[in-house]
């Protein structure tokens, strides 16, 4: 198990290094000049050149990369070019906000998706199966900005049941914060429910048809024991992998949701920093999403290996 973990960790570090190279090169490929973005379109070209020099963005790319990654390794994320505040301050707040929203969405959609998938598989071909599959699929294909507007109009403007802004007032207690995050989490539930339910359904259907399930039933085990101990244990493995891959999206990919619900998460931070060519902020945000994503997949690997001993023992490779 330890060897498995070390190997996964080493792979994660290599992935992060590759990500750092890609994000560095990609951010420098964005059109426009950093000094110009900071000083505005009407600034004198000499001021722009002086500022570019002061910021060091006119140095060779390799030197800039070495300086940046060196600072990164020493936990110095630099200062935002646009907002003149430490990147760590903005990033810390953004990450915390994204984690909160991600967690609420996760807590809502995972049980719902699993339950939907299991019910659909157990009632295969019946009305419940069809309903769950069709509703799930339909909800998945509705773009987030459409579902967000509809939900805001219904629950926020017409019924006035839920706040339309995800950001709770400062010093709000956890329950109030949760109250503010329910509506923004709903479009995510709509997007992910069908996906998780479908994967779960497929896994459960496959497990139900498997020989070991038939054996368990013939052994005379109760239906409940067969489902929990034999079917779900095997059926949930692909679901765990799918759920883990959604973590990166839930933490760093919610630009639309964050804009629609006026929430300062990582998604908006990424979007704004890319728009404004705020390199330190952009690069640190991408790296943070990378770390979150790799941590989630690592945790999923561990969970997967606990459910499936072949993985941790190297049998699957």
């Amino acid at each position: 198990m330890l060897r498995f973990l070390v190997r996964r960790l080493a792979l994660a570090l290599v992935t992060l290094w590759l990500l750092s190279v890609i994000v560095f090169l990609a951010s420098h490929a964005l059109p426009g000049d950093v000094g110009r973005r900071i000083l505005g379109p009407f600034a004198d070209p000499r001021s722009v050149a002086t500022l570019d020099h002061a910021l060091g963005v006119d140095r060779p790319l390799l030197v800039q990369y070495a300086t940046w990654i060196g600072g990164f390794l020493h936990a110095d994320l630099g200062t935002s070019l646009s907002f003149h505040v430490p990147v760590a301050d903005l990033l810390g707040r953004g990450l915390l906000n994204s984690l909160k929203l991600g967690l609420v969405a996760f807590a809502m959609v995972v049980p719902l998706g699993l339950l939907g998938g299991i019910v659909a598989a157990l009632r295969r071909g019946g009305p419940a199966d069809r309903l769950i599959t069709v509703v799930g699929l339909s909800a998945t294909v509705v773009p987030e900005f459409v579902s967000s507007i509809v939900l805001i109009l219904v629950f926020g403007v017409l019924l006035r049941l839920l706040p339309v802004t995800a950001q709770a007032p400062p010093d709000a207690d956890p329950l109030t914060q949760l109250y503010h995050l329910v509506l923004p989490a709903l479009p995510l539930v709509l997007v992910l429910f069908g996906y998780i339910a479908r994967i779960t359904r497929a896994g459960v259907v496959e497990a139900l048809d498997a020989d070991y399930t038939r054996t368990a039933v013939l052994k005379g085990l109760s239906w409940r024991t067969v489902i929990v101990r034999h079917v779900l244990r095997n059926a949930l493995m692909p679901t765990i992998a799918v759920v883990a891959t959604q973590v990166g999206y839930l933490i760093g990919g919610l630009v639309v949701i964050e804009v629609m619900f006026n929430y300062q998460g990582l998604g908006q931070l990424l979007f704004t920093s890319a728009q404004q060519k705020d390199f330190p902020l952009l690069q640190a945000s991408v790296m943070t999403v990378g770390v979150v994503y790799l941590t989630a997949t690592l945790l999923a690997d561990i969970a997967y290996s606990l459910v499936n001993p072949r993985i941790r023992l190297g049998g699957a490779e």
């Binding site: 907002f83 003149h84 505040v85 629609m260 300062q264 728009q275």
Partner: protein, 555 residues
């Protein structure tokens, strides 16, 4: 005018300067409206009571702009506002997101209101020398910053010498002061008087130190940056918390100098929105008492909402369609005129702005400027004339060209409509629409045809200078327009102090620009603010300031 009115007017006129009497003559002769007279009078330093006395003597009445309603003491309001595009710093501010916030915490020497009149704020009065090259301002005494420290003449002197300093990175005020005011030429005369020695005569200088200049809030002489930690200023509001990109909260400043105008509200919470749609939804859902500014395109529903008061004010914000005059195909003025005649402005105004815009006449001296010349005819929509101009220019077969512009507001739609106008007269226009940063970086000043956004100004000086002057002063001259006659007329306009002299120049400028057509200016559009019915006393300006000193909740 009856004898008594004449007697009162004569008494007032005896105490006035030649310039001020000239303005009164303009009013009596009917060459300026009451509104234009008040505005011109405020520039010359006439106090509002004096202006009202003159208007009363001339049997004209003055009207206020405040909203009605029984305001209760106390309470807080929440405002949805555009996210600031950068660090909160008065020196760097170049966008609405930051400007509005500056104007809540800070104050200017004068406030340029919705009618383009100047109201004294931190300056009590001002006056020019004979040719308008030296302006002297009397500074209000007893004013305190929102940290309790007193404001003095030295703070005013330091603020303006700082704003005229070309060595400060990103010093945005240079767009107003370059060629007008040199660092070191703002000096203290005595404990209540400041003198501005200008680089040359300038009849509209008070506007450049008013709220029309984004950056000109008065800061302490010792200010050295990090404004976002303190939000220091002399305004009625004191910052209590600020979260970058998220929100800022203010409470009523206990040190506010104007005891007769203490705000009824206890505080203001401002939430920043990166996009307009969610702000409008939050306003409709009741999360916001006010939406500082919204566009017709996104906020159509608010215009007919019975629970919403929409404050609609005319501004000089506009779009400029530039055509490069120094290279084919737009080096012929006939071709430029042809495209201008092919644009159906009334359709643009109704289609893109739902009527909330005023027709433009291809020069930036908009009708709301008192110095505009009403005798200059409006360019009509005339496709057959456009076609004949194309034929005269030898371009009857048409040509192809690319129009470059930015993804801002309705501009992409305007670009498509200009494309359609071109098609009607044989010009095939390809569109290249990029984000704003890329447009300004790569295309703005080098494109054969482009569309650029211009924000509101209280006087046309900036519009007439940077986008149209030849040589070094034409820093935003995307049309590469270079006409010595125009440059000479511009100089005449700038140094003119009284309205009739300004009009003598603007009439010629308007005719020249209509003839040469380096720019198509199809419209100038209104600023819209949405306010819940129970919030009254809100004052907005074309520049984007929110005056909330008299704002309060009714119940």
């Amino acid at each position: 005018m009856d004898r008594e009115s004449q007697r009162r007017l004569d008494a007032i006129r005896r105490r006035r300067t030649d310039l001020e009497n000239n303005a009164i003559d303009e009013l009596l002769l009917g060459r300026v409206s009451r509104r234009q007279f008040v505005r011109a009078g405020t520039v010359l330093g006439l106090s509002l009571p004096t202006l009202n006395a003159i208007l009363a003597a001339c049997s004209a009445s003055s009207s206020g702009t405040t909203s009605g309603g029984q305001v209760k003491k106390g309470g807080r309001i929440t405002i949805g506002h555009q996210t600031p595009s950068g660090a909160m710093d008065p020196l760097l501010t170049a966008d609405l997101g930051r400007l509005t916030i500056l104007g809540l915490a800070g104050e200017y020497l004068a406030f340029s209101d919705r009618d383009l009149k100047l109201r004294p704020v931190l300056a009590e009065s001002w006056s020019p020398n004979g040719d308008g090259s030296v302006w002297t301002f009397k500074i209000r005494q007893g004013v305190k910053f929102n940290d309790g420290s007193p404001m003095s003449v030295d703070d005013v002197v330091a603020t303006f010498n700082r704003l005229a300093d070309p060595t400060i990175h990103g010093n945005n005020a240079l767009s107003n002061f370059a060629g007008v005011l040199t660092k070191g030429n703002v000096t203290r005369v005595d404990a209540s008087t400041v003198k501005f020695q200008l680089d040359g005569p300038n009849g509209n200088f008070p506007y450049l130190v008013s709220s029309d200049n984004y950056n000109a809030i008065i800061l302490p002489a010792s200010y050295s940056g990090n404004w976002d930690k303190t939000f220091i200023g002399t305004g009625p509001w004191k910052m209590t918390s600020y979260s970058v990109n998220q929100s800022v909260s203010f409470q009523r400043s206990p040190y506010y100098w104007d005891s007769t105008n203490v705000p009824p509200l206890d505080g203001i919470d401002i939430r920043f929105y990166a996009d307009e749609q969610p702000a409008i939804l939050a306003f409709q859902a009741g999360s916001l008492n006010m939406l500082s500014f919204f566009s017709v395109r996104t906020g159509q529903a608010l215009l007919t909402d019975p629970n919403t008061t929409v404050i609609d004010i005319q501004t000089t914000s506009h779009r400029q369609v530039h055509m490069r005059t120094d290279q084919p195909p737009f080096d012929s003025k006939l071709v430029r005129q042809a495209l201008a005649y092919a644009v159906d402005r009334q359709s643009l105004i109704s289609g893109l702005w739902n009527g909330k815009a005023q027709i433009g006449n291809d020069h930036p001296i908009f009708k709301m400027f008192p110095s505009s010349d009403p005798s200059v005819a409006q360019r009509p929509y005339d496709v057959s004339k456009a076609k004949s101009l194309m034929a005269q220019a030898g371009k009857a077969a048409g040509f192809g060209v690319t129009l470059y512009t930015e993804q801002v507001g309705e501009i992409p739609d305007l670009a498509a409509l200009v494309q359609a106008a071109g098609k009607a007269i044989g010009i095939t226009i390809n569109l290249n629409v990029t984000d704003s940063g890329t447009y300004y970086d790569k295309y703005w000043l080098d494109s054969p045809l482009g569309i650029t956004d211009y924000g509101h100004r209280g006087v046309p000086n900036t519009f007439l200078a940077a986008p149209l002057l030849g040589g070094k002063l034409g820093t935003w001259n995307a049309a590469h327009f270079d006409d010595p006659d125009y440059d000479a007329l511009f100089k005449d306009y700038v140094k003119a102090i009284d309205l009739s002299a300004q009009r003598a120049a603007t009439g010629k400028i308007e005719q020249l620009l209509l003839d040469q057509t380096p720019l198509i200016i199809p419209y100038n559009y209104d600023a819209l603010t949405a306010v819940k019915k129970n919030l009254v006393g809100v004052e907005t300006t074309g520049m984007g300031h929110l005056n909330l000193r008299r704002a309060g909740l009714t119940s």
